[in-house]
Every structure is written in C-alpha cells, then in structure tokens.
Amino acid sequence: MTTPSTRYAQFKLVLLGESAVGKSSLVHRFVKDSFDEYRESTIGAAFLTQTVNVDENTTVKFEIWDTAGQERYKSLAPMYYRNANCAVVVYDITQAASLDRAKAWVKELQRQANESIVIALAGNKLDLESDREVDTSVAQSYADEAGLLFYETSAKSGENVLELFTGIAKKLPIDAAASRHRPVPKGVDLSKPSPSSGSGACNC
C-alpha cells in the first residue's frame, strides 16, 4: 500500500450509453476486478463507489451511477447527470449504431449538464476485435472534435479500464473540490482496483 494521501476529493460519475454495450461490466471490472459473460440488465440505476490514487499523494473517490441503457430510460437521465462532475459515455466497437447513440448522449450532456463536466468516450468490447465495426480513427477524431477523453476498453480482459478512470480523475479539479470533502481514510494501490471500497455492482 502507498503512504496516506495528502489530497482527497469525491466526484460524481455517471455512465451512459446504449443497452448491452458493457456499462455495468466496465464498472464491475473497475470496482471488483471481475467479469461475467452475462450480466443482468440494469433497471433504473445502480450505485457504486471506488477510489483511485491519481498520483502518490492524491486520491479520488468516484461515486458512480450506472444506468439502464434502453432509450426510454432517458427520461430519468437528468436525475443521473444533475450535478455530475464527470461522465463515461460507452459504445460497443462491434455495433456501429451504438456510437451514434453515444454521440447523442455527449450532445445532451454538453447542452444540459454542468458546464465543467469531464466527458470520456469509451469504445468497449476490444476483445472482439474480429467483429469490429467502428474504426479507432473514426472514434478518435470524433472525440478530438467534441473535446472528449477517448479510450478503447475491454471489460472482459480488463484492458484500459483503470486507465479510463484514472484518465478522468487527472482531468478533474481536485484542488478546488478537495476542501469540501471528508478526509481520506486510506490510500489505494493504483496498479489494481481496491477490493475493499466497492460494493453491489450487480442487481442480484
């Protein structure tokens, strides 16, 4: 374990994207470091927390709202992103249509959410390279254009999952937020997700 951090802040993170692109699986990998081939559909939203160390003396705790993907759950969306500091908008690299849906989410966030919200685009299911429908370059250039962080991830293999969340943490205004939150309980090793702080990823 690392030495106790001197900087600590909590941020609200919301996961958005088409159904079955792997939102819950990404969070589950991040929080529990595990993966199930079939994960129960998320109804409404699930709440989880996870802590990461951004650097030697900086810890960020994410309060994560994992949401249902089906179009009609959109009516609950303002509640998800009301006061969210950051968002991960997920698409499935094997489903071109899911990128369109992700773009619509980004547009809505940029119009409706906090002005300072940090948005990351995540192309998930990198392990299914042979079924790829969305070229990395296409998504990358869209992300650049829209001012988003961009990662291609695999919840199954774990590739780039931690990088995604630490990438977001590094973009957040930690100093500005630090004062209004409680002191840090303990540090967490960045190289693997903390087993202790997460909970309740699945709906069962």
Partner: protein, 535 residues
C-alpha cells in the same frame, strides 16, 4: 385490486364484418378475429389504441414453417424443463428450489442454509393448511396430482393465508386466478400463438432490444442458463423470446421495456408461456399502469406517490432520503416559503406554497434512481427471490398498494442504519444494499402487515388518489404551467376544472374521505396538505 373494481374485460363479441387474411389456419383466424374485435372496441377500452392494424395488404405472406416448427418444439422442451421443478426441494447443494443460486452478493451460503432450515418446515406447514382450506371448499383432492386452477373467493381467512405464502407449486395458478387471468385467456383463445408467430414472420421492431436482454435475464438460474454441453440456448430463453415478442406485438404503444424481461422470467418459472404472456399484459395494464410506457411516466408517478408516503409516515427516513445530490432538501424550500407568511388561501399564495412543497414530486429526489427499479421489476434484484414471490402472492390478490407497503417497510427497516448516516452517498448505498441482505421473507411481511406499525396501511383507493394528484402536478409542471403564468395570474380555471372533474369521478367511485364534501379549492388544498403531512 378490489373485487368491486369494474370489469374492464367484458366481451366485445367477434366483429361480423371481419374478413380474415387468406391461407390462415383456423386458430389464427379466430385469433385475428379476436384482435379485430378489440380493434373495434369502444373508446373507453384503454387498450384499443394499442391494437395493431394487421389487415394490411402484406399480411398474407406465408409464415416460415420450419422456424415455427422449431419454436413449437422448443415450447414443448420448455414445458418439460419447467415440469422438472417440484418447487419443494432444492435443485442441488448450490441452487434453490427455483433454480437460483442460493448464495448471492449479499447472502452467504451459510446464511441461506441456516434460513432454509427454519423456513422449510414452515412452508410444509403452510402447504398442509392450504390443502385443508382448499379441500373444505372442494377445490382440492388429495389424489389429484395436478395443481388446482381455481381458488377460493376473497375473505379475511384467505387474505391471511395468502400473506403467509401460497404453496410454491400452486403459486402460478393462484396469481393467474386472482389477477383474473382465466377471463383474459378465455376471451382471447389462440391469440398468444398468433402473436408470437406474427412477430417472427414480420420482424417485430423490438426484436433486437429483446434479443440483447434474453441472456441477461437470470443468467445464474439453472432454467435460463445455457446448456453447457451444446451451443443451444435453454428452451426457457426461447420461451422468454416468444413471450416478449408477443407482448410487443400486442402492445405496440408500450413495446418492450427493460425489466419486463425479469417479470416475464418469473412468470415462466411458475406458469406455461401462454399464461405468462397474459400475466405480463395484466400486470402492465392493471397493476402498474403506464409504468413501462415509452416515457416511463407511470414509474415517475409511483415514485412521487412513494415519496409522499415516506414524507407522511416516515419523517426520519425522509430527512435522509429526501436529499438532492447537493444536499438540499425539499423541506428546506418549503419552510422558507412558509416563513414568508403564506397562510391565507389566496390563489397566488396557495400556488406559491404548492410549488415549493411539491418540488420533490416534480423533481424527484435522487434516491428514486434506486427505488424506481423496485416497482418496475416488482422487487426482483432488490430482494432475495423467496421474498419477491411472497410479495407477488399478496400483490396479485390485494393490488398495487402492496408494492407501496413493502417499499415503506424496507425503508422503515433501513431506518436504524440510516439514522447513523449523514453523507448522501452512504444513504444511497444503504438503501440499495440492505434489502438484498434481507434473507427472511416472514420478517419482511410480518413487519409490513402487522397492526399499528405506524405506516404502510395505505389503501388501494389512496394509491389511486395519490397517483392522480402526482400525475396532475407533474403534468402541469411539464407544460410549465404550475404556479403563476407570465402575467402573474393563476392558471386558467379550465385547468382546475379538468382536474376537478377527474377528482370528482374518482371521488364518486372511491368515496375518498380525503375529498368528501369539500369545495373545489379546499379540496385541492387538502390534497396538498395531505401530501405535506400537515393534516
């Protein structure tokens, strides 16, 4: 559902003028005629707008017979699979009597086994009691092996028996009976088969979203899990596909909504797929109206009703869960308004007051992100499975008030833990996690139904009144007409009048003491006060 509720499925009769599409098998002709009759039903039939026009010129296209044959085979396999459940003995060391894993994220195998050791003699005792009750009224004979399909009329004794749990092997039939399933089935013979076949033939518009959820419905349950030896999907998954496609076909305005997969999945554990289909129709139309609709407004309305009820009956819990993300509470807004001296019933002040005090209804507190799924999925995934089915026993017999009572009970049982918390984050976590660890359904249901528990005695009429109230506030809010208009005047009397007409109709039906004998404005005010716990 009270027994006095108007019978909304009286026979419409088969339309004389109906001309079936060519080369349709007889059973389809009957079903199509049935659809046609529904199509031509009077405007007060709320489902009439959902009825598809199936008589377009392309309707004569032949069904893919090989595919249909495959589906019929898989239906037989699903029935065989279901028949392997005896609903009394656990499948094996790891799974329970319904095929679910005993161990969950919040309940260890030891905890489960300890509970089951106590619970098993209990259900055996209840089964004997039920057998005696049913024998007395001639609905059960010891020599017959088939579960009964008819159940005794409502009485306080039956209510008591149902609250203590219906025998699992009879459960499906009892739900179906008390939800008036036999009437639906008798009135629409063959319609289910017609619908799923039609969905296959015409490529249903929800087919893709349904497909995405099939393998994400109870992946841990033995009945639904893929067979390891082959690549074939479980026949229960195929059954689920047919039921959800048929539903989407029958209710195109509602279509498929995530969470229906779980509801249908539970029905399929206890009933054959045709009955499961009708239960899905009944639960979404009669018990949880509008909840799964395109905009989920029915779900939002019920959350508003729940929040009002929490505010009314569990003020300590409300002080914890009524918080917004930024720590603001709806109460604080109201108190500010009150201190400004809005005491008279002057229109402007009444509306100003109501705007502040109904803030939490228009803009639901974030806790509803968790509690919405309680209602949409009927507590599947929220509570352990045995609790879910015990709640459903009461729900199909007593009506949707049961879900509100259970939700209040869960929050009440969370109260000691919530009291120790101040950070909203911990509050969310507790409300989400505590119910998952509630291993004993008897404790939950006893807490829910015991006398003088100080909460939870919300009646079916109150649920209806509060749904209307919340719906109206949200409707006006969404049109930007709640409170004062641009000129500083009150909304037009027409709006009041429309609302009053609805309330009047309701009052006549329910004779609600909430509204009885009061003039219009006072009636509105009373409702708002009731919501604010000022009464």
């Amino acid at each position: 559902m009270s027994s006095s509720e108007e019978d909304d499925h009286s026979a419409h009769g088969i339309a004389e003028s109906f001309d079936p599409p060519f080369n349709m098998p007889v059973v389809f002709k009957r079903a199509a005629a049935d659809l046609s009759a529904r199509h031509e039903a009077t405007t007060d039939d709320q489902q009439s707008s959902d009825i598809p026009d199936i008589y377009g010129p392309d309707e004569g296209s032949p069904y893919p017979e090989t595919e249909i044959e495959k589906q019929i085979q898989s239906r037989i396999k699903a029935d065989i699979l279901r028949s392997k459940l005896n609903y009394s003995d656990p499948f094996d060391e790891v799974h329970d009597r319904y095929g679910f894993r005993r161990q969950t994220a919040k309940i260890s195998l030891d905890q489960y086994n300890a509970w089951w050791k106590e619970y098993r003699p209990y259900i055996q005792r209840r089964e004997r009691k039920w057998q005696n009750l049913m024998s007395e009224v001639g609905l059960y004979h010891k020599d017959t092996t088939n579960p009964p399909t008819r159940f005794p009329p409502r009485s306080s004794k039956v209510t008591r028996y149902i609250r203590k749990g219906i025998p699992a092997a009879w459960r499906g039939n009892a739900w179906f009976w008390y939800a008036q399933g036999p009437q639906y089935l008798a009135k629409h013979p063959g319609l289910y088969d017609f619908l799923w076949k039609r969905a296959f033939a015409n490529h249903n518009r929800d087919a893709e979203v349904i497909e995405r959820d099939l393998h994400r419905t109870f992946p841990d349950n033995l009945l639904f899990a893929n067979h390891n030896q082959t690549d074939d999907e479980s026949p229960m998954i195929s059954a689920l596909r047919r039921v959800l496609l048929a539903y989407s076909e029958y209710m195109p305005a509602t279509g498929y909504c995530q969470s229906l997969n779980f509801l249908a999945g539970v029905f399929l554990i206890f009933l054959d797929e045709e009955k499961a289909f009708w239960m899905l129709v009944i639960i979404t139309q009669k018990y949880l109206p509008g909840m799964h609709d395109e905009n989920l407004e029915g779900a939002n309305i019920d959350q508003g009703v729940l929040m009002i009820s929490v505010k009314d009956t569990l003020p300590t819990v409300w002080s914890k869960i009524g918080m917004g993300f930024d720590g603001f509470s709806a109460d604080q807004v109201r108190e500010t308004t009150d201190s400004a001296g809005a005491t008279s019933l002057d229109d402007k002040e009444l509306l100003t007051h109501s705007r502040a005090s109904t803030e939490f209804i228009r803009k639901l507190p974030p806790i509803t992100l968790s509690t919405t799924s309680w209602f949409m999925s009927g507590f599947i995934g929220t509570l352990p499975f045995e609790s879910v089915v015990r709640i459903w026993d009461c729900f199909f017999y007593e009506g949707s008030k049961v879900f509100f009572r259970i939700a209040l009970t869960i929050l009440k049982l969370c109260e000691p833990e919530l009291n120790a918390l101040s950070d909203p984050i911990d509050v969310f976590q507790t409300v989400q996690d505590v119910p998952k660890s509630m291993v004993d359904p008897n404790y939950l249901l006893t807490s829910c139904f015991k006398r003088n528990n100080g909460f939870g005695h919300i009646s079916e009429a109150e649920v209806r009144a509060r749904r209307m109230y919340v719906s109206e506030i949200r409707r006006r809010s969404s049109r930007g007409q709640l409170g004062l208009n641009r000129n500083g005047n009150t909304p037009s009397d027409q709006n009041f009048q429309q609302w009053d007409n609805k309330m009047y109709k309701f009052q006549k039906r329910s004779n609600s003491p909430l509204l009885h004998g009061l003039p219009l404005r006072l009636r509105m005010h009373r409702l708002k006060l009731a919501a604010d716990n000022h009464t």
